[in-house]
């Protein structure tokens, strides 16, 4: 019997594909947001609202992740530059997108014509928190009817979120949801998290969210432009 000491990260295979995805996105100046939430929180509605508001300002591509169906891809296809529907039903991970699925989807999109890629993950608050895809920002959508205790019950997905969207804010008079309690829990898990209270139904608050998205896309475009110029200057590309 021989012992082999390893300390080998098991998620490394996913992480290295994610890093490749990010390089590909940066080469094409595409800013990618991984949108995660439980089923029904309003991921698709947020994507639709974002596309409507940012029309003419950004060219938007969408990747829809669902266990089954093309319902969401159908909803967004008229407004998007390109849409890819990923069905995870027969894949090794059916509960979350993983980096190799994004890799396959990116090959089907006209990346040179896209400024912003919105990736709708599978509706689930557990599994997507374990897998990076190569995105620039991670966003969680949480809606009022789900209750204000979600960050306490599913801390990991909120701990990694760059932004949290509190959707269905128009339902506040009808549900027991304490926004202050929710905010405290979220900010407790991540000191720099951005919070947006909005309603995809009424459109209230969407402008603040879109302003943040636009600012992040522009900041990244500036970064990748200077990166690409320096690569060209060095004769690498």
């Amino acid at each position: 019997m021989r012992k082999i000491e390893l300390v080998q990260n098991i998620l490394e295979a996913n992480e290295s594909i994610a890093a490749q995805n990010k390089r590909l996105l940066d080469e094409h100046g595409v800013f990618a947001i991984n949108i995660m939430a439980s089923p029904g929180a309003g991921k698709t509605s947020l994507i639709l609202q974002t596309m409507a508001r940012l029309k003419g300002k950004l060219r938007i591509g969408v990747i829809e992740g669902d266990v089954a169906s093309t319902l969401d891809a159908e909803k967004v296809k008229n407004e998007a530059v390109g849409v890819v529907q990923i069905n995870t039903r027969n894949m090794p991970e059916s509960c979350s997108l993983i980096a190799s699925m994004l890799d396959a989807a990116l090959k089907k999109l006209p990346l040179e014509d896209i400024d912003l890629l919105l990736i709708e993950n599978v509706g689930n608050l557990i599994c997507p928190s374990e897998f990076v895809l190569g995105e620039h920002k991670r966003v969680v959508v949480s809606s009022l009817p789900e209750g204000d205790d979600k960050p306490i019950k599913y801390p990991m997905i909120f701990a990694d979120a760059d932004a949290v969207v509190i959707n269905k804010a128009d339902l506040l008079p009808y549900v027991d949801f304490d926004i202050a309690v929710f905010r405290r829990a979220i900010e407790g898990l991540h000191s720099k998290v951005k919070l947006f209270e909005l309603s995809c139904k009424t459109g209230a608050g969407i402008e603040n969210w879109c302003a943040w998205v636009l600012k992040e896309v522009e900041a990244n475009a500036y970064k990748s432009a200077s990166l690409n110029i320096s690569l060209e200057g060095g004769g690498i590309r």
């Binding site: 019997m1 021989r2 012992k3 082999i4 000491e5 390893l6 300390v7 080998q8 990260n9 098991i10 998620l11 490394e12 295979a13 996913n14 090794p92 991970e93 059916s94 509960c95 979350s96 993983i98 557990i126 599994c127 928190s129 374990e130 897998f131 306490i152 801390p155 990991m156 701990a159 405290r184 829990a185 900010e187 407790g188 898990l189 000191s191």
Partner: protein, 113 residues
């Protein structure tokens, strides 16, 4: 549900390392799984039994060690083990934390023949 891909990775890594070591059989794989990850040892074992059939890792003993969750209070820097319900600091009751440990998922070592 998300243990399938992870188990595939475990088997891939183990088989590759065993080949490098020119081993004929893998008898034990020791894994460390952080308390804050959602990975279930029972589930990994179930998939592993199925996937490792007809490989040199068949019937290998999987040994799981749980790495406890540790968080640090952002106000007073106390490191504590978070309770299930609310991650408030036991010393100053502040609710702001940073995760220090508990997200690990790695193969620590293997035993081969």
């Amino acid at each position: 549900m998300h243990e399938f891909g992870v188990t595939e990775s475990i088997l891939d890594i183990a088989l590759k390392e065993a080949k490098k070591a020119q081993a004929r059989k893998i008898t034990k794989i020791s894994l460390v799984v952080g308390e804050l990850t959602g990975f279930m040892p029972d589930c990994i074992e179930f998939y592993f039994d199925f996937m490792s059939k007809d490989t040199i890792a068949e019937k290998a003993d999987l040994h799981f060690e749980s790495a406890p969750a540790q968080v640090r209070c952002r106000s007073c820097l106390t490191i504590f083990h978070p309770k299930d319900t609310l991650w408030a600091c036991p010393k100053c009751q502040s609710q702001g934390i940073e995760i220090v440990a508990g997200r690990e998922l790695y193969i620590e070592s293997m035993e081969v023949e």
